[in-house]
């Protein structure tokens, strides 16, 4: 949420960017979210002392968080520009299907080996580029373009799925990779950490990152300062598409089967995580690490409710209510400074 300290007029200048007080900004502004996450963890630990913080469950939470974390990095970049990407579920499906059909699978289509990962990620990036081109060249709002691309992606996935049998990954091999551990934590989580680290470096230390913030702050000011707005937007949509493609591959690996609906529920999870983390939907404020907090709040909540034995018919209601409370607490210190509530 907004902190006027980091929004002094001098910082409007693109070249000096928003690097003045990176540590200060993250810590102070995120205390609410960190606190809310800590409260969730403490409450669930109190209810389930023997299971919630067991190593098995920590691995489970980290594994379940990995897919939305990776999507969340791309989604954060898009939201930072003041745009939105609603296409993630469809793009995940298309990328996941493109991946599984080009790797060793029970349908025996083609086996391109490691190239299949490239195919999946490229599918995501290509859809992102296409959406970005329509958004920037034809001046169609990102909301509409990406809504359309959700169904374009789902359509591609459905065509690839066809009417044949479900393609399955053979046991062992790459299917087992996300769940194997490194330093005690699942590979899927390490992959997410890597993507988050890259996302963080990009937003913090590169021109692309600074331009992204600048566009979100004010497109006109950015343009008059020489930012290639259209090109930056295109890059960001391509990166977001690639992240979503990678997430589609990971989700397919975890499931061990190809499914056009492999991204089901991810859109809500990531958009909510971006907002809960404190990235402004208006653009210009927030960051990748905040989204990480948001994803963890949501994942811990889902997992904790199941562990606490909350009846599944009231789980979604409870999780919605807990979320609203969490957001109120997280945003409390900033409530007077919120510029826009819409």
């Amino acid at each position: 949420m907004a902190n006027p300290v980091t929004r002094e007029p001098s910082e409007q200048s693109v070249s000096t960017g928003r690097r003045t007080r990176p540590h200060h900004r993250f810590e102070v502004r995120s205390l609410g979210e960190v606190g809310a996450l800590a409260v969730l963890i403490i409450v669930f630990f109190a209810i389930n002392p023997s299971t919630f913080l067991s190593i098995g469950n920590i691995r489970t939470i980290l594994d379940q968080a990995a897919t939305p974390l990776i999507v969340g990095v791309g989604a954060t970049l898009v939201v930072l520009m003041g745009a939105i990407d609603l296409s993630v579920e469809g793009v995940m499906g298309a990328a996941g299907m493109a991946f599984i059909l080009t790797t060793e699978n029970s349908r025996g289509s083609v086996d391109l080996g490691p190239l299949s990962f490239v195919v999946g990620i490229a599918m995501g990036a290509a859809l992102g580029v296409a959406a970005g081109l329509i958004h920037t060249r034809l001046k169609v709002p990102s909301f509409i373009v990406t809504l359309g691309f959700w169904f374009v992606g789902l359509g591609i996935a459905t065509v690839l799925f066809g009417t044949e049998t479900i393609p399955l990954l053979p046991d062992g091999g790459i299917k087992a990779w996300p769940n194997e551990t490194f330093l005690g934590l699942p590979h899927s989580f390490w992959l997410a950490v890597l993507v988050i680290a890259v996302g963080w470096v990009v937003t913090r230390f590169t021109r692309l990152g600074r331009f992204t913030y600048a566009i979100g702050d004010s497109e006109e000011v950015a343009r008059s300062n020489g930012v290639g707005v259209a090109r930056t937007k295109l890059y960001v949509f391509a990166v977001a598409g690639a992240c979503t493609g990678l997430a589609g591959i990971l989700a397919t690996l975890r499931l061990g089967a190809g499914a056009p609906t492999v991204g089901g529920g991810v859109l809500f999870l990531t958009v909510a995580a971006v907002v809960i983390g404190g990235t402004s939907l208006g653009g210009g404020r927030g960051g990748v690490l905040r989204t990480t907090l948001g994803v963890f709040m949501l994942t811990v909540l889902t997992n904790g409710l199941i562990l606490s034995g909350v009846d599944s018919s009231i789980q979604s209601g409870v999780s919605g209510a807990v979320l609203i409370v969490a957001i109120i607490f997280a945003a409390w210190p900033h409530r007077s400074r919120l510029r826009i509530v819409k």
Binding site: G56, T163, D171, L255, A257, V262, S312
Partner: protein, 380 residues
């Protein structure tokens, strides 16, 4: 101020749209609700279109339904149209209304997205002089004989029987002793509710089987995976058996167990015998110990053929016994030793359609009519 005013304008506009929409709907349904349908002149093949409406096109069960509808259309020499509801009641209803408006008489089989869609669809079809058979979901109070001949029949497989059959298989495979968990479908789905009720009912005969928990995984493999993952950590080394309300979720559950290195330590049962599950059952010492066999292509073809017979005047719905208008069809319980007796039907859909046309919708093996709906939950 500007923002507030424009927000109000939007709100007013949105309300207007909603009000208009509701009044438009009620006009249609209101006009269609009166009177019970009398008999109508038979419709010739060339004036008829067979329509199969499915919930989506990506679920293997739905793909099988489409296959059955197309095979039947080819055999009967009647045009077939497929409606993909894309998981949405609104899409389903508007696409069906568009087809009804095209002019040809419609014989419709619809696998309703939600029970509450049924009255609207039935009334629209009745207005247009078409014939409809509904599969799987309708409100218990909406009976075909109350609507008239245009609502030919409602058909389904018993969910209670499915749950009892797989519940029993799971308990037997554990020697009547152990802890089990259940994965339900969408919470408000009657199919899921009846299957869970049957499962819980079957376990009553096994006092040493403890049902640790039933959680919803929304018919979704991905959710089946993550719910199972969470439950396996909630009950470490305690889960001996996993029941799922359908095979999409058991695909997720078996993978969660494989990931946890527990696949061969847990027994699994589920409903539907999808192709990947057939493969798993074919493995030696398969942990998939029980399944039910029923097929989308059979359901769709039985439903469409019933509607077709009514449209062409070969049956008069008004004279049919009630069990042929609110029907439960036979579901087979299968195990690793006998499932191949049933999967043989998958090999030749066309030949099965021939037997359907020969024997009629209610007497075709392996799935003849066995009872009358609406289905009752055990103990009620």
């Amino acid at each position: 101020m500007f923002r507030t005013r424009s927000f109000r304008k939007h709100l007013v506009a949105a309300l207007a749209v909603v009000v208009l929409g509701v009044s438009a709907c009620s006009t249609t349904t209101g006009a269609g609700a009166g009177g019970t349908g009398g008999s109508q002149a038979p419709i010739a093949n060339e004036d008829l279109v067979l329509v199969a409406s499915v919930i989506n096109t990506t679920n293997p069960y739905m793909a099988s339904m489409i296959e059955g509808a197309q095979a039947l259309g080819e055999k009967l020499g009647v045009e077939v149209q497929i409606v993909d509801s894309a998981g949405s009641s609104q899409t389903e209803i508007s696409k069906i209304q568009a087809i009804l408006a095209q002019g040809k008489k419609v014989a419709l089989m619809v696998n309703t997205v939600a029970s509450s869609d049924a009255p609207t669809i039935v009334n629209a079809v009745k207005q247009a002089g078409g014939y409809v058979v509904i599969w799987w979901n309708k409100p218990d109070s909406l009976e075909p004989w109350d609507v008239g001949n245009n609502f030919v029949a409602f058909q389904k497989y018993s969910g209670v029987e499915s749950g009892q059959c797989t519940g029993r298989a799971l308990a037997e495979s554990l020697g009547g002793k152990g802890n089990v968990i259940g994965l339900a479908g969408v919470e408000d789905s009657t199919t899921s509710q009846t299957r869970v009720a049957g499962f819980e009912d079957a376990l009553k005969a096994y006092p040493d089987i403890k049902l640790l928990e039933v959680q919803s995984a929304n018919w979704d493999p991905q959710q089946g995976l993550s719910v199972t993952q969470s439950l396996l950590t909630k009950y470490p080394n305690q889960v001996n058996g996993i029941w799922a309300a359908d095979d999409a979720m058991i695909i997720g559950a078996t993978n969660a167990a494989k990931n946890a290195g527990l696949y061969n330590d847990i027994k699994f049962v589920s409903d539907g015998l999808y192709p990947p599950v057939v493969d798993m059952m074919s493995e030696p010492n398969s942990p998939i110990v029980g399944e039910t066999f029923h097929r989308g292509f059979m359901a769709a073809a039985i439903g469409l053929y019933t509607a077709y017979l009514a449209a062409t005047g070969e049956i008069d719905p008004a004279t049919l016994p009630e069990e042929k208008r609110d029907s439960l069809f036979k579901l087979a319980c299968v195990t690793p030793t006998d499932f191949q007796d049933y999967t043989k039907w998958d090999g030749d859909v066309d030949a099965w359609i021939d037997t359907l046309i020969e024997n009629g919708p209610w007497d075709t093996e392996p799935t003849p009519l066995v009872g009358q709906g609406p289905e009752k939950l055990p103990g009620t």
